[in-house]
């Protein structure tokens, strides 16, 4: 029982972090038709900038804010200078965002040094609760709560507010949205910034969870994010949550029962999805047939 609960909590926490990363990816893809290979770079910059602020101010909350601001700013620059010039050309987009990933990752080493940085969990989130004979680590629960809160906020925004309406309209048919008088380029920019901020937040929250941050972690987690986006269906927000939880749980259970397969399980999941349902498990229906 204890084992089961722990494995589930572990899987959920990892899943939530991947969800935050994948949510930005999937929104950006759905709206702009851009697969951002630099997303991992934004993730790792969020982690470093957030931890840097956290260590400077000794306040975890300020650190989180620092990460989000850094992410949004980098998102702004990326959209303006990297994505806009190659808009509409898929191959160039793939190539250029990968180049940016490279630059971001190396810049981390220049700015913060090439070695990993050890991160401590803030005291009020460290430790664990004991409920009966089940031990629950506080920080993991914190991540899960944050994940669901963010999912709730975004779901509300997307489904209930005017901004969400515009974004959803853009995802469904951007030419039509534009024809109806929406400045779609600006929506692109904002969505990109929000996606980048989510990636940065994910990186920041990941830091105390894994205990150490290093420049290469961006790529590692970005791959998990891509897998989630494929499984969940490109452009599907709630799909990415479900897929992230699936990937998180599969990873945590496999790591315990069949450790050899733990790294391959996500790949296998993705391969199965791609063979039988290439549009993703929870893909939104799109009018366009492109």
């Amino acid at each position: 029982m204890e084992l089961l609960v722990n494995l589930i909590i572990n899987g959920l926490a990892t899943g939530m972090l991947i969800f935050l990363l994948a949510a930005g990816l999937t929104l950006i893809f759905g709206l702009m038709d851009v697969l951002n290979f630099a997303h991992g770079g934004l993730f790792v910059w969020g982690a470093y900038a957030g931890i840097f602020t956290y260590m400077l101010t000794e306040s975890f909350i300020v650190g989180i804010i620092g990460a989000i601001v850094t992410g949004a700013l980098l998102g702004l620059l990326t959209e303006k200078f990297i994505i806009t010039p190659v808009y509409g050309n898929h191959i160039q987009q793939i190539l250029i965002t990968l180049g940016l990933m490279l630059v971001l990752q190396e810049l981390i080493k220049v700015v913060f040094g090439p070695n990993g940085v050890a991160v401590k969990t803030p005291s009020y989130l460290a430790g664990s609760w004991e409920i009966g004979d089940v031990i629950i680590i506080k920080y993991r629960l914190f991540i899960i709560v944050i994940g669901f809160v963010i999912f709730g906020i975004f779901q509300y925004m997307l489904k209930r507010t005017k901004i969400g309406l515009i974004v959803r309209a853009g995802v469904q048919d951007k030419e039509m949205a534009q024809a109806l008088g929406i400045h779609i380029k600006r929506v692109f920019l904002y969505v990109f910034m929000v996606g980048a901020a989510l990636a940065a937040l994910s990186g920041m929250l990941m830091a105390p969870y894994s205990g150490v941050i290093y420049a290469e972690m961006g790529m590692e987690y970005a791959i998990l994010g891509f897998i989630v986006v494929v499984i969940g269906g490109m452009g599907s927000f709630s799909g990415s949550l479900l897929a992230a939880i699936l990937v998180g749980l599969a990873g945590s259970f496999m790591a315990y029962y069949v450790p050899v397969l733990s790294l391959a399980v996500n790949m296998i999941l993705m391969a199965i999805v791609l063979i039988f349902r290439p549009q993703g498990l929870f893909a939104m229906r799109k009018e366009r047939t492109s």
Partner: protein, 338 residues
């Protein structure tokens, strides 16, 4: 036209002669090793260009095939015997393995759109990297292992000539390949996949062929690389190898075979020179940043690379010289089908 081709062939021949004579004129060990490295990565970059430049698909998993070749050769030379026969055998086995895997991966993923393909190849090569790390009994993980090269290749010079000869053979083979009917269809897929499909070609079939050819050649480059270092570790499977190939292809010029070779020379030389500078200026230790920035700028402003841009320039100049008829195809379009 005939005249031009023979001129080009003459230039290549001259270059080849220079490279054959060079070791006898200047027997600097560093230069020899650098040139060997340039040739090996030139082979890799050419194989990558079959995918990126000729078929128009972006793969982020090319290191996987390079690594397969490197590990096959290294493991066989270590576990069995360091003879020439085993070396040749290991190259062949590596190529078969790489061909088989690229066939499977291609069949599974090439049906998808470019985004998915790029992503999936990234994930697959990640899987192979993990495999190389975990299968410690054979690969010794990240520490890697040294092995003895065949006696013939003890001498750097012999190996240099062997690599040079391989480069020439592969260059000619790939040249034939991209100018064959199959190669033409690959270019058609790049230009407009939908239209190629409408013309009755099974584009998946051709894309898989391109992927298999690229995989096999990359594996060959990997085998050579392993022998050149006499050491192998997981870095041969790492993303960096793919990035190197990508960089060389983009900077040299996509869609040409000479471009990647030139790119390889530029990148390898710059790496060599910058790592020398790094001793004095620590910023150059992160030389990859400069390449990253250069690469981003190249994608935006310079998407044809050095060779492509030169050709465009040269084409325009020649066009003006000949007072071409306005009814002909635009210079850019014609250039692509060259």
């Amino acid at each position: 036209m005939n005249n031009k081709i023979s001129l080009r062939a003459f230039a290549f021949f001259l270059l080849l002669v220079i490279f054959i004579i060079l070791p006898f004129v200047n027997d600097s060990r560093t230069l020899l090793i650098l040139l060997t490295q340039i040739f090996i990565f030139g082979i890799l970059a050419m194989s990558y260009d079959i995918l990126l430049g000729y078929t128009g698909i972006v793969s982020f998993g090319h290191a996987m095939f390079f690594g397969i070749g490197a590990y096959t050769t290294a493991v066989m030379l270590k576990q069995m015997d360091h003879t020439l026969l085993i070396f040749v055998l290991s190259i062949v086995i590596g190529m078969i393995l790489a061909g088989f895997i690229s066939f499977l991966v291609g069949l599974l993923t090439l049906r998808l759109k470019s985004h998915f393909f790029a992503m999936l190849t990234l994930a697959f090569s990640g899987l192979f990297l993990v495999l190389a790390e975990k299968w410690r009994s054979v690969t010794y993980g990240n520490d890697g292992f040294t092995f003895r090269a065949p006696d013939l290749f003890r001498d750097r010079m012999t190996f240099y000539f062997f690599v040079l000869a391989s480069l020439v053979v592969i260059f000619l083979a790939l040249y034939r390949f991209v100018n064959s009917p199959t190669g033409r269809i690959l270019i058609a897929v790049r230009e407009n996949e939908q239209r190629t499909k409408s013309l009755g070609f099974n584009t998946l079939h051709y894309k898989v062929i391109a992927s298999v050819v690229a995989g096999i050649v990359a594996s060959f480059a990997g085998s050579l690389y392993a022998v050149s270092l006499r050491f192998v570790n997981t870095s041969v499977m790492a993303m960096d190898i793919t990035l190197d190939a990508l960089l060389m292809t983009i900077i040299g010029g996509v869609g040409t075979l000479v471009g990647p070779l030139l790119g390889s020379a530029v990148i390898e030389y710059a790496q060599h020179a910058l790592s020398g500078l790094a001793r004095d200026y620590p910023i150059f230790e992160r030389w990859i940043i400069f390449f990253g920035i250069l690469y981003i700028l190249a994608v935006i402003f310079f998407p044809k690379g050095i060779i492509g841009s030169l050709r465009l320039l040269f084409g325009k100049w020649r066009g003006r010289l000949k007072q071409r008829k306005t009814t002909g195809p635009l210079p850019q379009e014609k250039e692509r089908f060259e």
